[in-house]
C-alpha cells in the first residue's frame, strides 16, 4: 500500500491498517482513504523484483531486482560475483553471513554492474545457472506479463 504522505510503497504495514510507520522517515503515515477501500487490502504487485542477469540489469537501474551470482571474492562488506551470463557484478552491503558458492541477491540495481543487496539467499554449492539465465530472458521478454 502507498503512504498518503510520501506516496511511497510501505510493505511493513498490515493490510487493512489505516496507517503505519514510514520506512523512510520513521514517521507515522496514513493510508489514503481510497487505498483503504479500493485495495480493501488486496495483494500488492507494485514493487516486483525483476529476474535479471548482467545484460538485463541495465534495464532495471533504480528498481528492485534479483539475480543469481556465483561468488568470486569478498571485498569488505561487498562481494564480487559472476552473473548467470558470465559478467562480473559488484554486490554491495551483503549481509555478514557466510556465503555459499551460489547466492541469490534481491536488492536495488544501482548501476550497470552493481546491486545493493537487501536479502541474500545461499543457494548452496551447486545451482543451475543456465536455467536461471534462460528464465531471466523469458521473464523479461516473451512472458513479461507473468512477472512484471
Amino acid at each position: 500500500m502507498r503512504c498518503g504522505k510520501c506516496n511511497e510503497a510501505h510493505f511493513g504495514a498490515r493490510w487493512g491498517a489505516t496507517g503505519g510507520h514510514c520506512w523512510n522517515s520513521g514517521k507515522r503515515f496514513v493510508v489514503p482513504l481510497d487505498a483503504r477501500v479500493s485495495n480493501s487490502c488486496d495483494m500488492d504487485t507494485s514493487n516486483p523484483a525483476a529476474l535479471v542477469n548482467a545484460e538485463l540489469l541495465k534495464m532495471h537501474v533504480g528498481r528492485r531486482v534479483r539475480a543469481l551470482v556465483q561468488v568470486l571474492r569478498k571485498e569488505g562488506a561487498n562481494f564480487v560475483g559472476l552473473s548467470t551470463d558470465g559478467h562480473q557484478l559488484t554486490i554491495r552491503d551483503s549481509p555478514p553471513l557466510p556465503l555459499s558458492n551460489f547466492v541469490e541477491v534481491i536488492g536495488i540495481a544501482e548501476g550497470n554492474q552493481s546491486i545493493r543487496a537487501e536479502i541474500c539467499t545461499n543457494f548452496g554449492e551447486k545451482a543451475d545457472s543456465l536455467v536461471y539465465n534462460r528464465l531471466c530472458q523469458l521473464a523479461n521478454g516473451e512472458f513479461k506479463s507473468l512477472f512484471l
Binding site: 504487485t45 534479483r66 536479502i119 539467499t121 512472458f143 506479463s145 512477472f147
Partner: protein, 278 residues
C-alpha cells in the same frame, strides 16, 4: 507427494472455511470429470493471481488463461509471519507480488513443521485460492521450506509452460519457439518420453550441418548410455535412421572417429562402439 501424515479429508476440507463434503456434493452441478480437473494444482505467479478475474460472486471462482483456478502452487519468500495458536499467516513474496497465506495448524507435528518457516526463507505453498473479506488469499494445505533452490527457477518455468499450454487451448496464437527452448523436466510427459536426440524439437535440417557438426552428433549417439551398454556396439544404419543423414556422410564421420580413436569397429564393419567407458 504430501507424505503420509495428511489424510485426504483434512487436505481438502480447507480447515473449516469451506462447505463440508456432505453439503457440497448435492449442490454442485459439476460432472465428476470436470470437478476433478478443477481440483488440479496450477503453478502460478502472484502477478497472475492479481490479474485473475472472478467469474461470479462465488467467493472462490477464478479464471486464469481460461482455466478455473482452485488449487495452486506458489514459490516465494516468507515475509511478515504471524503465529497464532490455531493458525499461521504470512505474506508470500515471489518477486512478482505479494499475497497473504493462511495455514491452519491442526496438530503438534504440523506446528513443528511450520516453526521452520522464517521470514526471508523460500517456501513452496500448495493451497486453495479464495476471497476472504474482499481480498484474495491462499488457504494453504502445505507449506514446505525450499531446500533445493533449483526448484525456484523450475517453478517459474512451469508457470510459463502451463500458461502457454492453457493459452493454446484457448485458441489464441501463442508464440511458438518456447517449448524447444525451455529444457525442463516438466516439458516431457513421462508417458511419451523420447530421448532428446530423436525428438522433433532437436532434429535439425540436414542441409546446414557442417562436417564437424555431423561428427559431433554421430559421436553423441555412440556416447549414449544405451549405445555404450550394448556389447556389440551399434549398427551404421541405426545412426543413419536417427540423424536422417545420407549413409556416406555418416560413414565419413565414423571413419574420422575411428582414426582419432573415439570409436572402434566390433563384430563386423557395420558395427561400432565408443571407446568411452569401454
Amino acid at each position: 507427494m504430501f507424505g503420509g501424515e495428511y489424510d485426504s479429508a483434512s487436505l481438502f476440507s480447507g480447515g473449516g472455511f469451506m462447505p463440508s463434503q456432505a453439503t457440497q456434493t448435492p449442490d454442485s452441478g459439476f460432472s465428476p470429470a470436470k470437478n476433478r480437473e478443477s481440483q488440479a494444482l496450477l503453478p502460478l505467479t502472484v502477478k497472475q493471481i492479481s490479474e485473475a478475474h472472478q467469474t461470479s460472486d462465488d467467493k472462490s471462482n477464478f479464471v486464469i488463461d481460461g482455466v478455473d483456478v482452485n488449487n495452486i502452487t506458489l514459490v516465494g519468500m516468507v515475509t511478515d509471519k504471524l503465529e497464532k495458536v490455531t493458525d499461521i499467516s504470512f505474506h508470500l513474496d515471489d518477486g512478482t507480488g505479494r499475497i497473504e497465506v493462511h495455514k491452519w495448524v491442526d496438530d503438534a507435528m504440523e506446528s513443528n513443521a511450520m516453526a521452520e518457516l522464517q521470514n526471508d526463507t523460500y517456501v513452496c505453498v500448495h493451497g486453495h485460492l479464495k476471497v476472504f473479506q474482499g481480498k484474495k488469499q491462499v488457504s494453504a494445505y502445505s507449506c514446505r521450506v525450499v531446500t533445493d533452490f533449483n526448484q525456484i527457477p523450475y517453478h517459474f518455468l512451469e508457470c510459463i509452460f502451463v500458461h502457454k499450454c492453457n493459452k493454446k487451448k484457448l485458441g489464441s496464437p501463442a508464440p511458438s519457439s518456447v517449448t524447444a527452448e525451455i529444457n525442463t523436466p516438466y516439458k516431457t510427459n513421462p508417458g511419451t518420453y523420447q530421448s532428446p536426440a530423436s525428438s522433433k524439437a532437436f532434429s535439425r535440417p540436414t542441409t546446414i550441418l557442417s562436417d564437424a557438426d555431423l561428427q559431433q552428433q554421430v559421436l553423441a549417439v555412440f556416447d549414449e548410455p544405451r549405445s555404450i551398454s550394448d556389447e556389440s556396439g551399434i549398427h551404421v544404419d541405426y545412426i543413419v535412421d536417427r540423424l536422417g543423414v545420407p549413409k556416406n556422410k555418416v560413414m565419413q564421420a565414423i571413419t574420422y572417429h575411428v582414426d582419432v580413436g573415439n570409436i572402434y569397429s566390433t563384430i563386423d564393419d557395420d558395427h561400432y562402439k565408443s571407446t568411452r567407458n569401454g
